[in-house]
Assembly symmetry: C2
Homo-oligomer: 297 residues x 2
C-alpha cells in the first residue's frame, strides 16, 4: 500500500475509534435516536473531511493531538447534512453507500431528529470539547465562526436549497458554481482550515490552504457528477444516473462531459498551485487532489 | 401597564430589532430561504427565552449589553425547533400562533432547510458574534457547551423523540418528566444560565438560577398542556384539544386536571424558593414565574 492509502486507512480508523467514543451508546435513552445516529455515522464513509482536519493540524505541528474532537464534529455535521438531504421532501434517496438511507432504515421523524442531534453533537465537539484537548478558547471562537458560516443560509444550506430549486432548470454557470461552492466545497475547505487554525496557522499560509480547499471541493463535486454518469454502481454503492433521473443541475449534464472533465482538471491544477509553496509538508494534500481527480468511486 | 408587562414589551422590541439586523435580508440569495427564516422568526413569539438571557446578564451587571447576540441566537434556535416539530412527519401541525406553519406557508423541503439554517445562524450568534460584543472567549466556550448539550440527543431532541414515541401510550411519571425536562425546560434553563454567565455569574448563585430555570420550564409545559384543554382558541392562536387529538402524553391527560394544577403550583413555589436569596434583584424572575402559572395564553 502506498503512503497515501496507508495514511487514509490509519486516519479513518482513528476517526472511527473516536467517533465511537464520543457518540452516546446505543442503549442510552432515547435508544432509537442513538441507534439511528450510529447507523448513519458508521456507514462506510471515507472520512475525507475529518482527515483533512487532522492533516491541517499535522502540517503545522507535525502531529494531530488537539484536532480530534473538531475532526469528529465535522464528520457528524457532514452526516447530518446527508441525512436531511436524502429525506423524501428533498432528494428522496433510498440508498446511500449501499445501505438504506436513515429514513428508510428507521422513519422520517427519527431521521429528521437524528440529523438535528448530530448537528448539535457536532457543534459540541467543535466548540466545546476542544478545550479538554488543549485547544485555546481564542481558536475555538475562530473555528465556531468558520463552521457556522459554512453551514448557514449563505453556506451549505443555501447551496442545498439552490440545488433543489434548480432541478429541471437550465441554470447558468454562476448558479451552478454557487451550488457547488456552498453545498460541497465550503465544508471541505472549512475542514482543512479548522485543523490548520487549531495547529496555529494564520495569515497567507492559511489563505493558500483555504483556496486549495475550495478548489478541491468544487472539483470533488464535479467528479461526483461525472461518476453519476460514468461510474460503476458496485464500486459506488448507489445507483448511477440518479442526477439525470432527478433532473439535477450538474456540470456534465448542463455543459457536457468534455467540458466537465476539463473543468475538473483545471480546478485540480489550480489547487496544486496554491500549495506549491508548502513543498513536501503538503504531501497528503497533493495526493488527495490527484485522488479526487482520478477516483473511480 | 405594570413594571413586568412594560419590561416584557420593551425587551421584546429590543430583541425584534436585533433579530431583524442579524438575519439576512429577504432579497439576499437564496431568497426563498431568507423569506422563510424571517416568516418563522417574526410570527408573534413572546420572546420569553431571549428576555431571560438579557435579564440573566442584567441581574448581575445592572445592564444588558453583551448578551444581545446570544439572546437572539437562542430565539433562532427555539424557532428552528418549532419548525421541525411542526413538520408532517412529526406533529403535523398546520397552524402556530394563528398563522400557517412554515411547511404550510412554504413547502416541506424549505421548512426542513430553514430550520437547519436557523440552527446554524443561532449557533453563530451564540458562539462567535459574542466576541464582537465583548463576551470573553472563555465565556463563549462555556455557553456553547451549555447550548449544545441542551439541544442534543440527551436534551431537546431527545425530549422530542420521547414525546413522539409516547403518543397513544400510558407512560410513567418519570418518562413524562423526561419529556418536559428535555423538550421544554432545558432551553428555558439554558437561556437564563447563558445570560448569567455572560454577566459574570458563577458558583452557587448560578446553580440557584439553573434550578429556578428548570422548575419554571417544567411548569411552563404543564401550563401549556392545561391550556390545550381549558384555554381560549382566540387568545392562543391555535386550536385547543390538539394534544388529545394527537394522543399526546401530557400531565392533565395522564394524571387528571387537579393533579396537573397542583403540580404546576408546587413547581412555581419551588422555583420562587430558589431565587429568594437574590431579593429584589430577581424581581423579573418572580413576576415571570407567577405569569407562567396564571397566564391564559
Amino acid at each position: 500500500m502506498n503512503r497515501f492509502r496507508e495514511y487514509l486507512k490509519t486516519k479513518k480508523e482513528l476517526i472511527d475509534k473516536y467517533l465511537d467514543s464520543f457518540l452516546p451508546k446505543e442503549d442510552d435513552k432515547p435508544t432509537i435516536l442513538h441507534k439511528a445516529m450510529r447507523y448513519a455515522v458508521f456507514s462506510g464513509g471515507k472520512r475525507i473531511r475529518p482527515i483533512l482536519t487532522l492533516f491541517g493540524e499535522e502540517m503545522y505541528t507535525g502531529g494531530y493531538t488537539k484536532a480530534i474532537p473538531a475532526a469528529c464534529g465535522i464528520e457528524l455535521i457532514h452526516t447530518f447534512s446527508l441525512i436531511h438531504d436524502d429525506l423524501p421532501a428533498l432528494d428522496n434517496d433510498d440508498f446511500r453507500r449501499g445501505r438504506p438511507t436513515c429514513h428508510k432504515a428507521f422513519s422520517e421523524d427519527v431521521a429528521i431528529l437524528c440529523g438535528d442531534a448530530l448537528f448539535a453533537e457536532g457543534m459540541r465537539l467543535i466548540s466545546y470539547e476542544g478545550v479538554n484537548w488543549s485547544v485555546s478558547p481564542d481558536s475555538i471562537v475562530k473555528i465556531t465562526g468558520i463552521i457556522t458560516r459554512t453551514l448557514g443560509s449563505r453556506g451549505l444550506v443555501g447551496g442545498e436549497i439552490m440545488d433543489l430549486l434548480s432541478e429541471g432548470k437550465d441554470i447558468s454557470y454562476e448558479d451552478l458554481l454557487f451550488i457547488h461552492t456552498h453545498k460541497t466545497a465550503d465544508l471541505i475547505r472549512a475542514s482543512l482550515e479548522i485543523g490548520a487554525i487549531i495547529g496555529g496557522m494564520g495569515g497567507e499560509a492559511l489563505d493558500s490552504l483555504s483556496k486549495f480547499g475550495e478548489e478541491i471541493g468544487i472539483a470533488f463535486q464535479i467528479k461526483d457528477d461525472i461518476l453519476d454518469i460514468e461510474g460503476d454502481e458496485k464500486l459506488m454503492g448507489k445507483p448511477v444516473g440518479s442526477d439525470e433521473k432527478n433532473k439535477k443541475a450538474t456540470y456534465p449534464l448542463l455543459f457536457g462531459m468534455d467540458k466537465a472533465k476539463k473543468e475538473l482538471h483545471d480546478r485540480i491544477d489550480k489547487a496544486l498551485n496554491y500549495i506549491e509553496g508548502f513543498g513536501d509538508r503538503a504531501w497528503f494534500l497533493k495526493e488527495l487532489a490527484i485522488f479526487i481527480r482520478d477516483r473511480s468511486y
